[in-house]
């Protein structure tokens, strides 16, 4: 479709429908009715069947005018996209609309204490009993589980099949007695994740997604949405239009809940932004050896941005290979965060012993020092990224697998 036509249509529609005095739910229901909540989705599934570029036109208009989008905070988007891709009509009807409006909050129940790097090693049990699925097991690293209404759940429905073939993918109601959510405190004091314990938790047969034994394929599709989200995250956020009115207030409240787990994320990336100012303020910049370390840090940071830009440009120009750039970027983020922590320590000297609001940069430096270890673990460890890069980009041979044969017989954590 002609981009100008799209721009005209959406602008016209917004003139008719957008009002800051609507409730958030009212506004989002209008969005849905107008077909603007997810323009890239198929026409039969609440969307307009737009291409990526066409959707971008709509998004640009929304952003420029400061219009509130459909709800897409973290796990909501993963759930919605996965249901769209793998759900049957009934499932789509049951979940998609209220997910886009924000009425349904989601969480992602993939990682387990016994399977972190090795997601397909899930040993949460799903058994058919009395006309429903009964779930037993423990999940971990579940962001926002305490706010979630539903969870996307990977569990093992057959222990006699090979590892990747015995998994199934479920939509589970989090508000039931068999599901217990406990906050999981991290070494930096934040508790932005949860543990989720499932004890005879129930899932109706209707909430099996993508078919029995097809869980790994469905999960892989969720993970690819997650990776794409990671790469696109920087471009989102609405413009600085003055935001007054009910819809904004309610939207801010939703955002506050969605973003709460992420307040320490800038620290985990090393707060490179603080380095130069602090080095000057403290006089540490006078040290020639510290200058070398700062220069290494800034070089690595800038080069990683430039490499990401160039990879993006290459991607746009043709090939669709997004994973390598993602893995390289993720690995680089670890190196950068570590070097940043090193430089912050050099700058602080013995003051690095202090933390809390009376310490450097209101505690942000101290929080950085004890948050950076997360960057090289969360979302796939450095080791996993290096495996991916060496195998998928460089084409180096895989190692012999030790986890073939029936899952029941594979060595695992007890």
């Amino acid at each position: 479709m002609n981009h100008n036509d799209i721009k005209q249509e959406v602008t016209g529609w917004l003139e008719q429908n957008w009002s800051t005095e609507l409730s958030l739910l009212e506004w989002r229901n209008r969005l849905l009715e107008g077909g603007w909540a997810a323009p890239n989705w198929p026409v039969e599934s609440l969307g307009r069947g737009y291409s990526v570029d066409e959707t971008q036109v709509v998004n640009d208009v929304f952003r420029r005018l400061g219009i509130v989008f459909a709800s897409q905070g973290g796990p909501r988007r993963l759930a919605a996209e996965t249901i769209l891709a793998h759900g049957n009509d009934e499932q789509k009807q049951r979940y998609l609309k209220q997910t886009l409006t924000g009425e349904h909050a989601w969480c992602q129940l993939f990682s387990e204490p016994g399977s972190g790097s090795d997601l397909a090693g899930s040993s949460t049990k799903a058994e058919k009993r009395d006309g429903r699925w009964i779930i037993n097991g423990q999940k971990v690293w579940t962001t926002s589980a305490h706010h979630a209404d539903y969870g996307i759940l990977l569990a093992r429905s057959d222990w006699d099949l090979p590892k990747h073939q015995g998994l199934s993918y479920f939509l589970i109601d989090m508000h039931q007695p068999g599901v217990e959510v406990r906050p999981l405190r991290q070494m930096n004091g934040h508790a932005s994740f949860n543990e989720v314990f499932m004890t005879d938790a129930e899932v109706s047969f209707d909430d099996l997604l993508g078919g029995e034994g097809n869980g790994w394929a469905v999960a892989a599709s969720t993970l690819s949405v997650e990776r794409r989200g990671f790469a696109q995250a920087r471009q989102s956020g609405i413009s600085s239009v003055e935001r007054v009115g009910r819809v904004y207030d309610e939207y801010e409240a939703e955002l506050a809940i969605d973003n709460e787990p992420y307040t320490w994320y800038p620290q985990r990336q090393g707060r490179v932004d603080l380095v130069l100012d602090r080095a000057k303020k403290t006089g540490a910049i006078a040290s020639a050896s510290t200058r070398q370390e700062i220069a290494k840090l800034l070089s690595m940071k800038r080069a990683s941005e430039l490499a990401a830009e160039q990879a993006e440009a290459t991607r746009r120009a043709g090939t669709n290979e997004i994973i390598p750039a993602g893995s390289i970027g993720k690995l680089a983020a670890s190196v950068i965060a570590r070097q940043a922590a090193h430089v912050h320590t050099l700058i602080s000297g013995s003051d690095a012993m202090l933390s809390g609001e009376h310490s450097a940069e209101s505690g942000m430096v101290a929080e950085t020092l004890i948050s950076v270890p997360a960057i090289s673990i969360a979302g796939g460890t450095d080791e996993i990224q290096r495996n991916i890069i060496s195998e998928r980009v460089l084409g180096m041979p895989k190692e012999q697998r030790s986890d073939t044969g029936p899952f029941r017989d594979i060595k695992r954590n007890t």
Partner: protein, 377 residues
């Protein structure tokens, strides 16, 4: 010069290890780190009474056991392994060192015996913990009265007495202050490493006794003693983390095999073992040199061994090693290593705070080079 531990030293280490394993478990450490004082006074007294640690290296004429830096190192290393919470570094190491190097005979006789028994907790107040050259700019004495502040003081909240290094009309001096005197303001500071209690100490017109003279020379000696002791603590911590991490990788299974069978992890652990062995060797060596120096006069050591830089080498190596091992200890545990529930972060934070206490590795390497240049030129 001694090259090996004697069997007495081995036994002493074993006794300490047993005590620490019984009284300084992660559960104990977690309990103590939430208190204001940061340690269990009863356990501390027991440790001092049973094993005499508080005065292990203090000469017998001052009520100590008369052993040296080697035995002090053994204490610090075993404490470091178990993250022992107590005022040992502040009182027995730092304050004692200041007294031994700077105080008059009378004050040594007055103050050291109580430190050696662990009944008096004394802390050394320095307005910089970064380097001897930086000390003396924020604390001043005039007419027997002290003013000024030190931003970071160890265990000030549990100290009875403070030894303050301050500038005066007659140069730097070491001054004695009662911790509960009016004008002594101790404010707890939040510490990156909650097992190490820090305070800000502000002195407003506090009357003080001058117990000795301080100059760059004896400050450097204090720095060397304390750096070597701290290096032992770091080596102990690094060894603990390496051992526990390797054990973890043998048990943890991913992809149907123990993660310790993955070559990337094996090689990383091999490199860390090398680092730990080297930091340990350098640290033991520094303690032995200090003892040889105390016995023979440091000048004699300089000539025969030409390694005055050894304490700085030890502190720098131990700090880098501890931090490297600590990073790996979190990383190789994956997400679990980043949780509060797992104990790894307790050591990680100790590694970080020890890295910068008494000067970071870069400072120590620079001092090392200054001493080497002095020697060779």
């Amino acid at each position: 010069m001694q090259k090996e531990f004697t069997s007495d030293q081995h036994q002493f280490r074993q006794s300490l290890a047993r005590f620490m394993q019984a009284k300084s478990t992660p559960v104990d450490v977690r309990r103590q780190m939430l208190t204001e004082q940061g340690y269990d006074a009863e356990v501390w007294q027991q440790l001092c009474a049973e094993l005499g640690v508080a005065g292990i290296h203090i000469p017998e004429q001052y009520g100590g056991f008369g052993f040296g830096q080697i035995e002090l190192g053994i204490v610090m290393e075993e404490m470091g392994k178990n993250l022992f919470c107590g005022p040992f570094l502040a009182s027995s190491v730092m304050a004692s060192s200041a007294l031994l190097h700077c105080a008059s005979e009378a004050y040594k006789e007055q103050l050291l015996p109580d430190i050696a028994m662990g009944v008096s907790i004394v802390t050394l107040v320095l307005d910089s913990l970064d380097g001897p050259e930086d000390v003396g700019s924020l604390l001043h004495e005039d007419g027997g009265v002290l003013n000024g502040a030190a931003k970071i003081v160890l265990d000030a909240a549990s100290a009875d007495l403070m030894l303050v290094v301050a500038s005066s009309s007659s140069g730097l001096g070491l001054f004695l202050v009662k911790a509960n005197d009016t004008g002594v303001n101790v404010t707890s500071r939040e510490s990156l490493d909650p097992t190490r209690k820090l305070s800000e100490v502000a002195l407003i017109n506090v009357s003080a006794q001058r117990v000795g003279d301080v100059d760059l020379g004896n400050l450097q000696e204090i720095w060397r003693d304390c750096s070597v002791a701290l290096a032992h603590e770091m080596v102990g911590g690094a060894q603990h983390l390496l051992t526990s991490t390797v054990e973890y990788t043998k048990l943890r299974v991913q992809f149907g095999r123990p993660i310790g069978s993955f070559q990337a992890l094996k090689h990383r652990c091999a490199d860390l073992l090398m680092e730990v062995e080297f930091a340990r060797a350098a640290t033991y060596h520094a303690a032995r040199l200090l003892d040889a120096g105390n016995a023979a006069g440091l000048a004699a050591v300089n000539e025969s061994e030409a390694e005055v830089y050894a304490p700085h080498m030890a502190k720098a190596l131990a700090a880098d090693t501890y931090c490297n091992v600590a990073r790996a200890a979190v990383q190789l545990r994956g997400g679990i290593g980043f949780t509060w529930e797992d104990d790894t972060h307790l050591w990680f934070k100790r590694a970080k705070s020890s890295e910068v206490l008494l000067g970071g590795p870069d400072r120590h390497r620079e001092w090392m080079m200054q001493l080497i240049e002095g020697e060779v030129s």
